[in-house]
Amino acid sequence: MEQIGLYLGCNIPLKNPDIEQSFRKIFPALDVQPVDLEGAGCCPAWGTAPSFDLNTWCAISSRNITIAEEKNVDIMTGCNSCFGVLSEAKHFLETPATRTAVNNSLAKINREYKGTSDIYHVAHVLHKKIGLTKIRENLKYKLDGLKIAVQTGCHTLWPSDVYKVKEDNPYFPTMLKELCEVTGATVCHYSRLEGCCGMGGMRSTDAEKSLKLFKEKLLSIKEETNADMIVTTCSSCFMQFDMSQPILKGRGVIDFEPIPTFYYTQLLALAMGFDPQQVACISQIDRNPIIAEIQSDTRRIKEGM
């Protein structure tokens, strides 16, 4: 079975381990074995070393990457920020002066960056390595008739020149759409598809500005799609949609019920028949009704069909 280094980051293993569990359930079933990168830390987040010093950023990122290099595996991460930070660091490390400076720092901890491991997002591994056909073959429930609005998230899209896997048009991403459609669900287009959800540095710097941006995106989804759920491949977007819809509802800014939101692999794990108590049990918004609908007997795919 092909192995890939599972780089966890911070939010997924510490706050949303049901997302981590969804990775650990679906990938082996799809013949990709995630291997732990013991001792890996923060990517480091945009608000830390990247905001202070470029070489310190690259040193901390490359320390994480060397853990994968030692195991001869590529890296797969589920957090868009981690994906962006690690990919950009790898890009900067192509500059000889940066690589020399960073390897001098790494020497103090007996490490050396070689550049032999590539950085992939969970969505890339699913779409490009495993492929839609294999995913379809492993479904236990079909999601026909359910409507999904997708949210790809910024840091797998731009700047496209530093990423190993790119969308044909980053302003009109299609990978997540196709990954959702393979379940049988309908993915509805909406005009703010490429818009930012407002999480990240913006949320911690000025929550009201962040919510303003979020509201605009949310209303576009609600009015243009009336989706049953929102599905994202960014753990930060997941947190914004799950935490901020109830805030807007509580303030009377929106008059509809918050739309249940899933990280993509949670949805896939449910469609593959895994236990919701393990793969989709941590959220502010009540997801039980839509989970019951997804795993209802009428949707079960009969063997041999």
Partner: protein, 167 residues
């Protein structure tokens, strides 16, 4: 406005030293600002406007402006810029200038301390949540790995960040 060439030269030097190498290629077309979610949300000093100030030598004058901290590092600007400026790198270079002068909100200190102590910028005790979903209580990450934490501390101690007295 009085244009002072020395100030301009000094500002450009500082921005380039902090990673904003493309700043002088900017032709002020505004494509970056038009697509920037930060500008859209109401942070005025990003993209074209920030670059304009910097090219006019206005550096210290903006040191307390929080716009750069509202940047999402989304790089929409980098993608659209017809000149190859990589505006996000200029925004972050300006942010690094601010950070090294300790011009940022105290809330940002917590994540530096978390990173230094646990190797995670965001840290909450995960044990209960992990048990609930059927995972081992301890993550395989630096959070429960003293040797890994020590490596990260060594990298931070021996960096310019180590001189700021944040951790």
């Amino acid at each position: 406005m009085i244009i002072d060439q020395n100030k301009i030269d000094e500002t450009i030097k500082i921005i380039k030293a902090n990673g904003g190498h493309g700043i002088q290629k900017c032709v002020q077309c505004g494509a970056c600002s038009a697509i920037c979610p930060g500008v859209k949300a109401g942070f005025p000093l990003l993209c074209r406007a920030l670059i304009k100030d910097l090219l006019n030598g206005l550096l210290e004058e903006n040191i307390e402006n929080s716009s750069s901290w509202g940047c999402q590092a989304c790089n929409r600007c980098t993608e659209v810029c017809p000149q190859g400026v990589r505006p996000q790198e200029v925004v972050f270079a300006f942010r690094r200038y601010q950070a090294n002068e300790l011009a940022f909100s105290t809330s940002a200190v917590t994540s530096q301390m978390n990173l230094y102590e646990t190797g995670h910028a965001v840290f909450t005790d995960p044990k209960e949540a992990r048990r609930k979903v059927g995972l081992p209580e301890e993550t395989p990450t630096s959070a429960f790995n003293e040797a890994a934490q020590q490596e990260i501390r060594t990298l931070m101690d021996n960096s310019p960040m180590g001189e700021l007295g944040l951790f």
